[in-house]
Each structure stands twice: as structure tokens, then as C-alpha cells.
Amino acid sequence: MAADSASGLEAAKGASKDSSSTGLPILQAQALGMRFAAPEGQISLFENLDFSINAGDSLAILGTSGSGKSTLLGLLAGLDLPSTGTVVMDSHDLNTLNEDERAVLRAGRVGFVFQAFHLLPGLTALENVMLPAELAGDSAARNKAAEALGRVGLSDRLLHYPAQLSGGEQQRVALARAFISEPQILFADEPTGNLDHKTGDQIIDLLFALNRDHNTTLIVVTHDQAVASRCARVRYLRNGVLTAEAG
């Protein structure tokens, strides 16, 4: 049940505020469906979702808790494979790639910001930000990380551990970590979910500023209408259906 057609998104793209959009889809989903085995039998989270998003676009997927929006984000990012349908990222059909090949595809191309921040507790802010660059074998990881932390206003917190930082500061470290490898696509899962309203606003400002600076494609799942409204496009996931309408 494709409530949101590819053409719909393509049409919406025309209204993109991002002038640097290339006009080529960087991510496409076709007939996407996800089912889970449960004690009472197979449960379908969603079925037949179709859409695509061009490079440089920003899309918010709004939905209530348990609507399956995080699972959808995971499928789009290639963290998991769908029960049915395909995801094509940067011309690669994710279904044809195994877990490691998808990881290679993600490396340097995809960044994440999580609700729970997911900073490694034993690492300083600097080391957390360095990690993706280090994994990619970048010898300038330290300098880049320091620079990235400077951009999120944490130059004076480089050697602090996550436990010594506030929630907002931790999410800023996570933003710096997400942008250090200059990803083409950034996936954000409830980026303000664990933050108070004011701090959440600051984080969103930062997220969109960075997005603009790096010309990144942004996909945000959230239940927060205010966050969603900052994106070029907003879609609602409700009862397994993706619609353009809030109703």
C-alpha cells in the first residue's frame, strides 16, 4: 500500500529549500515491508513503502512510539534487511549485499545521530569523535576530530568523558562524530528525544547548520513536529502506511 509514491517525493523535491540538490536519487525504497515473528504469529510493521530521496534533500519521518519509524530508518541505512522490497543506496541494491558489504558501503558515506547518543563511555569526547576516522585509517583523525568538536562549540571539552558531559553536550559530541567522515547521508533517530526543549532546539539548529555546510542528505525520524518542520519534506508513518498528510 504505497500511500507515498516515488513521483510524489520527486514532485516535492522541486520545492526543496536546498539549492545544492543534485536531482539524482541517492536513496530509493521499493515495496518495502517488514514483518516480525511474535508469539501470536507474524506481525507486519509496514508493507509496500515506496519513495526516493535525492542527494542534499532533507526528510522527516514522523510517527508515534512503536509505529516502526526506527526500524524503517535502520532498513534505509542498511543496518538490517527488509522482509520484502528493496533499498537502493547510491546505486547499490542493499539486498544483494551481505552485512559486511553493506558496512563497507556505509563507511564514510553514512552518519548517525542517536536518541541515546551512544558515545563509548571509556573514551573522551575527542576519542569518540576520532573513532570513525580511525576505523577508516585516517591518520589526521585527531586534528579533524578536534576541529569537528570546535564546530559544535566543545573545544574546551575535548578530554571530558561522556559521564562528565551534559545530555546536550553529549549529543553535540555525537553530531561532531557523525560529521567527521563527511557523510553523504545522515540518519538521525529522535535526536532530541533525551533532551529538554531548549537544549533540543539548540541541537536541531546545529544539526541543520552542519547539514547545510556539508550538503548532506538528511533523514530524521522523530515524534516531534517542531523538529520535522525544519525538514524540506515531512512524511507520517501510521499503521504501516507512509503519508504526506498529518491527519
Binding site: D100, A103, V110, E127
Partner: protein
Amino acid sequence: MLALRLLYRDWRGGELRLLALAVVIAVAAVTGVSWLADRVAGATEARAADLLAADHAVEYPEPIPSDWQAQAREQGLKTALTAVFPTVVVTESANRLISAKAVSDRYPLRGTLRVQPELGAAEEIPATIPKPGHAWIESRLFGLLDIEIGESLTLGAKKFTVSAVLSFEPDRGQGFGSLAPRVMLNHADLNATELLGPGSRVRHKLLLAGSQTDVLAYTDALAAEHGNAIEIETPSEQGRGAAEVIDQAKRFLGLAALLTVIVAGVAVLLTVRHYAERQITGVAVMRAMGATRQKVLSLFVGKLLWLALFAGGLGALLGYGLHLAMLALVADLLGTELPAAGWQPLATGWLTAGAALLGFALPTLVRLRDAPPMRVLREDLGSGLLRGGMPLLVAAVVIFALMGWQAGDIRVTLSVFAAVSGTLALLAAVAASVVYGARAWSRHYGQARLLWLTGFTRRPVTAVIQIVAVGVGLMSLFLLAVVRNDLLSAWQAEIPPDAPNQFLINIQSDEVAGVRRTLDDAGVDTTFYPMVRARMTELDREPVNAEDYDSAQARRLARREFNLSWTDTLASDNTIVAGDFWSDVDNPPPQLSVETEFAEEIGVGMGDQLTFTSGGSSVTAEVTSLREVRWESFNVNFFVLASPGTFDALPRTWLTSFYLPEQDTHVLNDLIRAYPSVTPIDVTSVLRIVRTIIDQGSRVVELMALLTLAAGVLVLLAALQITGEQRRFESALLRALGARGARIRAMARLEFWLIGAIAGALAGLAATAAGMVIAEVLFNLDYPFRPLTLVIGAGVGLVTVWAAGGLGARRYYRASPMRLLREG
């Protein structure tokens, strides 16, 4: 290098400290033993030629004929003579059993002598041997004889002036026989002592040195001419017996060290599981960022290899210190210079560290590569990632492989593996029944009790692991410290108070009447036994070749002269187990009765014809009975007894044994003055020496047991770390519900007390049971069950666990309830 950086970050975060400590302790145990064994074995090998003081030596039961020496010199060989015999040295105020050694010019042909001009002076290499009329004596004799340089002592019929302290002789030999202090004299003085009667226990040797071809040509010719009468010693022959003993000790200590490795392995398994659980999310984040499974695996393998490098190095350093401590403990027994420590044990240390980490830790960490990247979005994913018994199975295989490596023999490996697993399983079964029993009992005993027992019974599996780990460490310690002492005491208690404490040997036939009279006058009742010293030269008319035997003991028996006797009545401590003894037969024909263990050792059975040779004469007789002997009676007994008349053709001496109260030792002094060639052996001092050897040897093993206990404490701490979050939460919750800090600490204390007391009591019980089995099976001793060992065990366990656990868990109960709740 990324792995190293990640390892450093883990270390800084305190994640891997217990893991590293467990590896350090395991490596220290293995390398300590390795260094000890290498250096002692190295000393033996390096000194093999020195041990002979020659390239080859020819031993002969008679004084070396002078033409042998002349012939050897004609063939371009260097020669020297030695004669070694036990005797008594007499001074004005004291006398002492010593080992005398007469040496001729040019001795030693290989290696060097070292002497000190005065006690405490610097050692020097003497230019000559002792001048005629002079003697060099070992330092401890100065005190024992109350004598100084320049004073005189008497050996048999000759007086000697003590002119130097003998600090080192290359061919001193090792083992029990060489423990008597040495007096060295000039070979030219030998006859003047009048100590060398026929049949006396003298080892005459002709030392030879020269090119290998010349030496072999000479010894082959001599062997062809004199056959079995001579014995040719080579350096490898000298080294082999010692090497075999060292090899056995090395294997035993190696397996003892493995016990530490196993317990440390449990600590590794526990800490790595805890560590891996905390890594799952981190790995999921890395995978979401694009790290492949291969990358994740190589990072963790890299971390482990770096950790093995550091912990292995540190452990080896500790092991080096440990081996120095062990060497200090057995310094008296070694008494020789050791070669410098080599590097090989360091490699052994790294291998052990690598095996421990890859074997115990990697199977758990390997699973992290499968951490689902979706976990970054859904925390519940991947929580069952570490379940399953594969790491335990791999650990068991690694332990088995390590045991095989140390034991070098599949049968020994299998039995040690079975014994260790059996002991662990038994300890675990008893511990589990106690813990689960307490759990069931506390449920029926009301709310207050339930609360009191909560820590102990709510985590029964952890409690059982802690009890077994600490219990194994304590058990090996108790077995060595308590049970060994008890066994020695039980053994000494079995010796009757009037058991013979003095032996007189080397009594010539014409001295028997006189010696008997002297003893009779002193009120000592004695029996005299005839004794022939002979070598077994043929078995069923085939020459006996020492090389045909596998065991060192059998080779020694086949090569050496040993003591034979004859009698017409069987002593009460002898039992015939096969054939018939000749006591009921008048004038029995020549025949032999052989002690069972000896018969087994050299492969002799009923009906075999044995030929004995002494002083150029031979006698052959048939074995008609086998005997069991109760050696612990301390009476005079022989491996081979003959019917009267069988050995008439062989030269004989006599011996006797008797109990002499301490205040009557003057009787012995009178005897020795009157019959200088008679050699007394004081059994009490022999027992003292045996006890010293056992004490020193077991202190080395005690060090190993202490390491095992340390590893056990690590397991305790590892288990505390795992339950730390739970304890933090329980403590916060109880405080929030109104419990005072004192009450929470009391609950933790009770838990440690219970774990420690049960572990200690179990260890005491297991050590006592092992002691009882050892006493019954190996020594045939009565070893009573001692409840006190259990009580002591419980006390020691309680204090150990309380101290270690209290320190380890303190932080979980210290933080404020607000902070605890906020941290979740």
C-alpha cells in the same frame, strides 16, 4: 596500532585490569617454573664434563693397578686417581661421619677446584692438591668439629693438618649420598690411614683426559680386557640421572603452575564475558559506522595480542622474581653455580599469555563481530549474543593442550586432566548443594532471614564459582602446609621409640667379636649381618647391560655394586609372597630370595639365574622366592638374600644396627677410636636431612600454591565486578527504602563470610581427604581425620574472602542513593 590505542582506552577506563592481572599471575607461575628448571638443568648440562672432573673415568672396586695409569700416559692421555669413601674424622673434642676423597696430582683433569685460605676469605684456585699430611675440609666441618686452620684431625691411623677450606670440587656429585661433608687428602696418604680393608666401600677411579679418539681407544681396550670388573663413566652418563630427576621435578612444577593457569583462566572467562557484554553497543555503533565483521574481529584479536605482549612481559618479570625466590629456598640442595638466566622462559611467558587470552578470552570476544548494527536503534537486539557454552569447551581444550605441553605424555595428561576436572566438579557439586540448600532453607525461614541471605542465595551460580575458585587455591595450600606436616609426623610417630638409630657398617670379619664385646659391655644388644658388595653381572647367563633399562633407578642398580647378605631365618618384617624360603631346610643348596619391588625394577622373576661379581669372583644362584619388606621398621634389610654358603667365594664385611640413647654416644666414640675403619651412620641426622629436603622442596611448591590462591581471589573479584551493577542497584534501592548503610554493609559482609568459610572448609576437607588417600595408598600410614583442619580452613577462607571481597565491593556500597538511582 588502532587496536593498541583502543586497548589503551579500555585500560584507562579500568575495563581490562582484572583480565590483565589474571594473565600476569598465570604467566608468573609458568615462567617462574620454567626459569627454575632451565637454570638447574642448564647447570647440569654445562657441568656434565666437570661433574666427572675428566673426559672419561674408569671405576674399579680395587685400587687402580699402576700399570693402567702408565699405559694411559704412554698413549698420550692425562691421568689422575681418586678414591672416595665414607669414614669418621676424629678431633680432640668431636668426631663426625664424613666423605673422604683422596686425589692425586693433576686432579681435576676437567673443571677447577676452589679453596679459601681462611674461613670467609676470597675463593682462589689452588695450584696443587693438598700436600701429603694435609687435608682440605668443607666450611661446615669447622663448626661441627670445632677446629681451625692449622689444627689437626685424624682419619683412621693418620693425622692431618687442616690447611684450607674446600669450597668447590667439580665432581662433587648431587643427591643424598653427597650430603656428608667432604675431607680431601692426598692420594699418597691413602694407605697410611689404614682405612681400606677388603670389601670396604671405596670407589676407586682412574680419571682420563685427552682427545676423544685416544680416550675411547684406551677405555675400549681396558673394557675388552677386564669386562664387567670395570665401569666406564662418561659425561653424558653423569648428567643423565640428574637430568631425569630435574625433568620429573620440572614436569611436576609445570603441572602445579597449570593449576594457577586454570584458576586464572576462570577469572579471564568471567572478566571477558563482563567486558564483552559492555562492548556490544560500542561494536554495534562501529558496525553502523561501517566497520566490517573482519575489522571488528581484527581489532579484538589485536587488542588481545597487545595485552598478551604487555601482561606476558610483566608476568615474566614477576616469574623471574619468583624463580629467584624458589632458588633461594633450595639453595642448600643445589649448592652449585648456575648458568645465567636465558631468554627462552620469556618466550614461554608470551606463549602462555597468548594461549590464555586467545583460548579463554577470544572465543567470547569473537562473537562481538556479530553484534547487530540495528542495536543502535533497538537496545534489545543482540542481548543474547554471548550465550552458549562454546567458550567453556574451547577453554577445556586449551587447558588440555597446555597440560599435554607441560606433561609431555598423553597418559599423564589424561590422568591429570581427569583428576583436576574431577576435583573441580566435586568441589562445585558440594558448593552447589550448600548454596542451593541455604537458598531453599532461607525461603522457609521468614522475611528477615531472606533479606540477610539475599546476596549469597540470590546469585547462587556466582557464589558457587567463587567458592570453587578460592577453594582450589586454599586446598593446594593446605595440602602442602598442613597435610604434609601431618604426614611427616604420622610417619615419625610410626617409628618405634627404640627403633635402631645407629648403623655400623664396614666391620671386618676379624673385628666382629671385638665390636660385639664393646657393645655388649655398654648394654647394647645387637645382631651382626654379613654383607657382600657385588654387582649383578649376568641374568640367566646373559650379561646385564644397564643401557637396556628405561628407568634411571634400574640403570643405577644394574651399574652399581649393591649389598647382599645371607641368613638361615627370615626376619619378622619380611613376608614371602612367591616361592618358599629355605628356613625349614637343613643345608639348603645355593639359592636367592629377592625383594619384590627390586625384582620388578630390574625385571627378575622366580627361577631366574642371577650372577654376582665382587673382587674378581663370581657366584650364580637361582631365585627361589620373592619377599615383601617393611622398610619402615628401620631394621637391617637387603634386596637380595642368599642361603648360607652361597656367597662364600665373595669378600664380605659385617654390619649391625641398634638403638643408642643420646647420652651414650661416647660408646660410639670409643668404638671408632678402637676400630677406625668401621663407619657409623646416625639415622637421626639422616632423618633430619630428609626432613630438610622435603621442607625446602615443598616450600617451592607452596609458592606455587600461593599464586593459585591469588588467582582464586581474582576470580572472586571478577565475580564481584560482574555483580557490581546489581549490587549498586540493590544498595540504592534498599537505601531508598530506608535501610541504613551499616545494614547494607552487614549484608555484604555476611555474604563474604559465608563464601569464604564454605570455600575454606571445603578446601580443608578436600586437602584432608587427599592426605588420607596419599597416606593410605603411598605410605601405608594411619592418617586420622582431623576436624580441626576444616575449622582452620573455614577461618582462613573467611578472612581471605572478607578482606579481598570487602575491598573489591566497597565502591558499590559507598555512593549516595541519589547518584546510584540517577545512574540507573
